[in-house]
């Protein structure tokens, strides 16, 4: 029994160890968080990076610099800084297709399969990397943002 606890403890310890090891160098870590918030924040950032690299980096690139004028850079993004709510909508529902928008636009695809938690993790990662300093974006924040999205 004791032994079981010990292995469980070791696993947790190892996971934490790994996590702190992977702390992305490009990301901002606020210092005024208490320990619990620190850990939660770090987990969001780490998970967000994995999700970003899997779902977004083909267009926006691994270091957020975008590609030519086709895919915008997320470095110092004004959308992320000033209107993170619309960024949440964009991630979930893609570029809003207005009826009269010509065929000329390059669209960001919808990723409706992403959960609120995943979007929160992604936003926490990109909102605090490459010079962005948006702080922690929680699942609850995302849930609120998504209510305000105009469906399309």
């Amino acid at each position: 029994m004791n032994n079981n606890y010990f292995s469980l403890f070791s696993i947790c310890f190892l996971m934490l160890g790994c996590n702190s090891h992977q702390k992305p160098a490009e990301s901002y870590f606020p210092e005024n968080f208490d320990d619990v918030s620190q850990i939660k924040y770090a987990q969001y950032i780490i998970q967000g990076k994995i999700l970003y690299n899997a779902n977004c980096s083909n267009c926006h690139q691994h270091s957020g610099q975008g590609f030519r004028n086709l895919y915008p850079a997320l470095i110092m993004s004004t959308t992320l800084t000033n209107d993170i709510g619309s960024a949440a909508c964009l991630i979930k529902y893609g570029t809003k297709k207005s009826k009269k928008a010509s065929n000329l636009n390059i669209l960001m695809p919808a990723q409706t399969e992403l959960s609120n938690l995943e979007i929160a993790e992604i936003l926490t990662y990109i909102g605090n990397s490459w010079g962005n300093q948006k702080g922690f974006i929680s699942v609850n924040n995302v849930a609120k943002y998504l209510v305000d999205c105009t469906p399309h």
Binding site: C59, R68, N69, L70, N103, L107
Partner: protein, 214 residues
């Protein structure tokens, strides 16, 4: 036992060495066809290699593009569509590397076919090329009759290109880059989403260019 393993390894290495031929010529890909021809009044058989079929498309400037647009040029071809969510952004990035590498070389061209001609009109392709910042002398984006595009993709370039409701973005297609020589023959197939494959393609372009200089 150890001895066997050693001998096995030795064979393996020798085998591996044989694979590496530093100056081998690029293969001519595709099935060769046997045709009947008349030589000095006698009917004999000859083989012809697989060649890119005749095509007529329209590029981002609204200009007609045919095989003769690539006369005396080698070119890299691929199939994409503007709002492809998955592999095309990476393909564009890799193709752009080739563009930059051979920008000054008039013997090298790039040809991207849209497989979504309904959406990717001439104006949309022009906009795409503008955002990418490339010129139509070097890199042509073509649209045209959908059947002709799918058909040439499958039978000439030997890649998959088709509509598929279940695929991301509604189309199924391969991320292949094809290297075509001045004789309209396919000389190499590369994965346009993999940097190392495109490195190899760049090397092969140089190799193919050299073969015309000799």
């Amino acid at each position: 036992m150890k001895g066997y393993i050693l001998i096995g390894c030795l064979f393996f290495f020798i085998g591996a060495c044989k694979e590496i031929k530093p100056n081998f010529e690029l293969p001519i890909l595709g099935r060769t066809k046997i045709i009947n021809i008349e030589v000095n009044g006698v009917l004999t058989k000859d083989t012809i290699s697989h060649r890119i079929a005749d095509f007529t498309f329209v590029n981002q400037d609204g200009a007609i593009v045919t095989n003769s647009s690539f006369k005396n040029k080698i070119y890299v071809a691929d199939f994409f569509f503007i709002n492809c969510p998955s592999i095309c952004p990476e393909m564009s990035k890799q193709m752009y590397r080739i563009y930059e590498k051979f920008l000054e070389n008039e013997h090298v061209s790039l040809l991207s076919h849209t497989i979504d001609p309904e959406y990717d009109t001439v104006a949309a392709l022009a906009n795409y090329a503008r955002l990418l910042g490339v010129n139509s002398e070097k890199w042509q984006f073509v649209t045209g009759d959908k059947e002709q595009i799918y058909n040439i993709g499958e039978t000439s370039y030997m890649v998959v290109a088709n509509e598929d409701k279940n695929a991301p973005g509604g189309f199924i297609h391969s991320g292949a880059f094809l290297l075509i020589d001045k004789e309209r023959q396919v000389r190499g197939v590369y994965d346009g989403t993999v940097t190392s494959q495109v490195d190899l393609l760049i090397k092969d372009i140089n190799k193919l260019l050299m073969s015309y200089e000799q």
